[in-house]
C-alpha cells in the first residue's frame, strides 16, 4: 500500500467515504511527512495537533455520512491567508508575531467543509517574487534536482512552499495565490497542477493584499480533478469582498468528461519569442498535437499587446501594493522599530518599514509610490491602465472569434537554481512571468498542467487560458491534456 500522504485528493476522498482509511490516519501520515521535510523549508509553521483535532472531527462527520468532498483532506495553507489563532506573516518580518483574530473566507470555507490544516506554507515576501528567495524564512527548496546534481533548485514563487509541499507529498493539496503567475509558475516548476480562477470567483477577504485588482487565490494540486474539487469548495460570492462574483458555483468536477471534440484552441504567435528554448517550443508543439489528437481544432491567433503586459504589470502591481502595504506602519500589528531619544512618529514609520520589509518589497513600494506621485501618474499609472484595457481586448477579440481556450508554455524555462539569479538584472527575474501575467491583467482563468521533463530531468508545464467564468470548460480541456501527457514522474526523495 502506498503511503497515505501520496494519495490524490480525489482518491483520499473516495477512501474516506468508503471507510478504507480514516481522516486521523491520513493526517498522521501527512504530519509525519511534514515533520521529516525540514530540508525543503516548505512549511514555515506546522500545526500537527490542530490537524489531528480537525481530522477527528472530520471522522465524526464521515461516520454520520455528512462529508463534503474536502472533509478530512489534509492541506497546506500559504502564509498569505489569515488563519484565526495561527500565525500569519506573509513571509515578512514586518508581520512578526501577527496572529489573526479572524479567518480568511477561503480557509473558512475549507474548514467548514471539514478540511484539515497541516500548517502554513513558505512563500515570497508579500507574494513578491518568482523564486521564494524573498521570504523572511529563507527560500523553500524544490524536491526536484537536475539529473546527477545535488544543487538546490527553486520551487518557483511566490507560492513556492505550496508547490514544494504538494510535489513532495507533504500534503494532499495546498492553497496558492496568483497576482502575476504565482500559482502557475511554481506548479510548472514542480510538476503539479496550479489554477488561477477568474478574477472574482474566489473571495479575497482575509488574504493579505498585494495588488487587489490582480490577486486571486486558487488550488495547487496533484491532478486536474483535484483542482476541480478544491476550486468548487473555495468559490462563491462573499459579501465581504465587493469584487467577488455573485453567481452559483458550478460543479467543476462534473465537467471533466475528457471530451474536447470540436473545441477551438488558440496558439498565440506573440508567445513564440526570440530565444525561446527548443525544449519549451517542442513541448508546446506536442501539447497542441495532443489536443488535436483528442479532437480539438488548433488555430493560430494573435494577441498583439502581449509584449506590453510585463511593463504594464510592473507599473500597476507596485502601485496597488504601495497603497495596500501602507497599513504596515508599526501601529496596528507586527513589527515596530526601536527609536532613539528625540525621535518621533515619522522616524517610527520610516524605520519600521525599512527594517520590516525586505529589499524586493521596499523597491516595489518605492516604484509604486513614484508612479502614483504627482506629475507621473498620467505618464505611468494611467497609461498602464489603458494598456491593460488593450490587453483585455486582445483576449475578448479571440474569444469572440470562437476560440475556447488558449495554449501556451507556462514558463520560459525549467526551474533555476537557488541563488542563480542573484546577480541578474531584476528584469530577468520578472521575465519568469512573461506567459502568465497577461492572464491576471485580463482577469481570466488559467491552469498550469505538468506536461513533460526537460533534458536534465526537470518538470515543464503548459498553460491553458480560458474564458471568464468558464473554469469547468477550462478544467475539462486541462483534464484531456493531462491524460494525453501522462505525466507521472516524481522527485526522488533526498530530504
Amino acid at each position: 500500500m502506498t503511503d497515505l500522504n501520496n494519495l490524490t485528493l480525489a482518491d483520499a476522498r473516495d477512501k474516506l467515504r468508503a471507510k478504507e482509511v480514516s481522516a486521523v490516519e491520513l493526517a498522521t501520515a501527512c504530519n509525519a511527512a511534514v515533520a521529516d521535510s525540514d530540508a525543503l523549508n516548505a512549511y514555515c509553521l506546522k500545526t500537527p495537533e490542530l490537524a489531528l483535532e480537525q481530522a477527528a472531527a472530520a471522522d465524526t462527520r464521515i461516520a454520520a455520512e455528512d462529508a463534503p468532498d474536502m472533509c478530512g483532506i489534509p492541506l497546506g495553507i500559504k502564509d498569505l491567508f489569515c488563519t484565526k489563532g495561527v500565525g500569519t506573516q506573509a513571509a515578512s518580518k514586518i508581520l512578526t508575531g501577527f496572529t489573526p483574530e479572524y479567518e480568511s473566507t477561503v480557509t473558512g470555507k475549507l474548514w467548514d467543509a471539514g478540511a484539515v490544516m497541516l500548517g502554513k506554507l513558505n512563500m515570497d515576501e508579500f507574494a513578491m517574487g518568482s523564486s521564494n528567495e524573498t521570504s523572511t524564512y529563507g527560500p523553500a527548496v524544490s524536491p526536484w534536482r537536475r539529473d546527477g546534481s545535488d544543487a538546490a533548485l527553486t520551487p518557483g514563487g511566490s507560492s513556492g512552499g505550496s508547490a514544494a509541499a504538494v510535489s513532495a507529498d507533504l500534503c494532499l493539496a495546498a492553497t496558492g495565490t496568483d497576482t502575476g503567475g504565482s500559482i502557475r509558475q511554481p506548479a510548472a516548476f514542480t510538476g503539479i497542477v496550479g489554477m488561477k480562477p477568474t478574477y472574482g470567483r474566489v473571495s479575497r477577504w482575509g488574504v493579505v493584499a498585494f495588488a487587489s485588482s490582480l490577486d486571486q487565490a486558487g488550488p495547487m494540486t496533484k491532478t486536474v480533478r483535484d483542482a476541480a474539487i478544491f476550486l468548487k469548495c473555495i468559490s462563491g460570492h462573499d459579501p465581504k469582498d465587493s469584487t467577488s462574483f455573485d453567481a452559483p458555483v458550478p460543479d467543476f468536477e462534473a465537467a471533466l468528461s475528457g471530451n474536447i471534440k470540436g473545441k477551438k484552441i488558440g496558439i498565440p504567435k506573440e508567445y513564440r519569442q526570440d530565444g525561446m528554448s527548443t525544449e519549451i517550443e517542442s513541448l508546446w508543439n506536442k501539447g497542441a498535437e495532443m489536443l488535436r489528437d483528442a479532437g480539438a481544432e488548433i488555430v493560430d491567433i494573435s494577441l498583439p499587446h502581449t509584449k506590453y503586459a510585463l511593463p504594464a504589470y510592473y507599473v500597476l502591481a507596485p502601485a496597488e501594493a504601495s497603497s495596500n502595504l501602507a497599513r504596515y506602519d508599526g501601529v496596528r500589528y507586527g513589527y515596530r522599530a526601536k527609536l532613539q531619544a528625540g525621535e518621533g512618529i515619522h522616524e517610527m514609520y520610516a524605520r519600521t518599514r525599512a527594517e520590516g520589509f525586505g529589499p524586493e518589497v521596499r523597491k516595489r513600494l518605492m516604484v509604486g509610490a513614484y508612479v502614483l506621485s504627482a506629475g507621473f501618474y498620467d505618464a505611468y499609472y494611467r497609461r498602464a491602465q489603458r494598456v491593460r484595457t488593450l490587453i483585455k481586448q486582445d483576449f475578448e477579440n479571440v474569444y469572440a472569434d470562437g476560440v475556447d481556450a488558449i495554449l501556451t508554455p507556462a514558463t520560459p524555462s525549467a526551474a533555476f537554481g537557488l541563488g542563480e539569479m542573484a546577480s541578474a538584472d531584476p528584469i530577468q527575474m520578472y521575465l519568469n512571468d512573461v506567459f502568465t501575467v497577461t492572464v491576471n491583467l485580463a482577469g481570466l482563468p488559467a491552469i498550469s498542467v505538468p506536461a513533460g521533463l526537460d533534458a536534465q530531468g526537470l518538470p515543464l508545464g503548459l498553460q491553458l487560458i480560458g474564458k471568464p467564468w468558464e473554469e469547468g470548460d477550462l478544467l475539462n480541456t486541462a483534464y484531456s491534456l493531462e491524460r494525453a501527457a501522462g505525466f507521472v514522474s516524481k522527485a526522488d526523495k533526498w530530504w
Partner: protein, 95 residues
C-alpha cells in the same frame, strides 16, 4: 528615464521607507532600470482608450449602512505592538 539621487530620496520618502544617504545612488540606479523597462509603454497608441478600472464589468453592490461587526475592540488591539487603555499607542506626534 533615468532618475537622480534627489528623486530616489523623494520616492523613499513617499513610501515612508528610511534609506541611508550612502545607499541613494544605488537605489536611483535600481529604480532607473525598472522605469526604463516601463518606458516601452510609450510605444503603445492609447489614444481614445479608456483606462481599465474594474476587472469585471459589474456594478458594486450596496448594503445598508449599519454596523455588521462591532464591539471587538480587544480583538482589534490584540496584535498592536503597543496598546494602552483601549487605544493604539504611538510616539509623540505634536510637541
Amino acid at each position: 528615464m533615468s532618475i537622480d539621487k534627489d528623486t530616489a530620496r523623494r520616492a523613499a520618502h513617499l513610501a515612508r521607507i528610511e534609506v541611508a544617504e550612502e545607499e541613494l545612488d544605488h537605489l536611483a540606479q535600481e529604480l532607473s532600470g525598472i522605469l526604463d523597462f516601463m518606458e516601452q509603454l510609450n510605444e503603445v497608441d492609447v489614444e481614445g482608450v479608456e483606462p481599465m478600472t474594474s476587472v469585471t464589468p459589474m456594478r458594486l453592490k450596496r448594503r445598508v449602512d449599519v454596523v455588521t461587526e462591532g464591539d471587538i475592540q480587544e480583538k482589534i488591539l490584540a496584535n498592536a505592538p503597543d496598546a494602552r487603555e483601549g487605544f493604539f499607542a504611538v510616539p509623540k506626534v505634536v510637541e
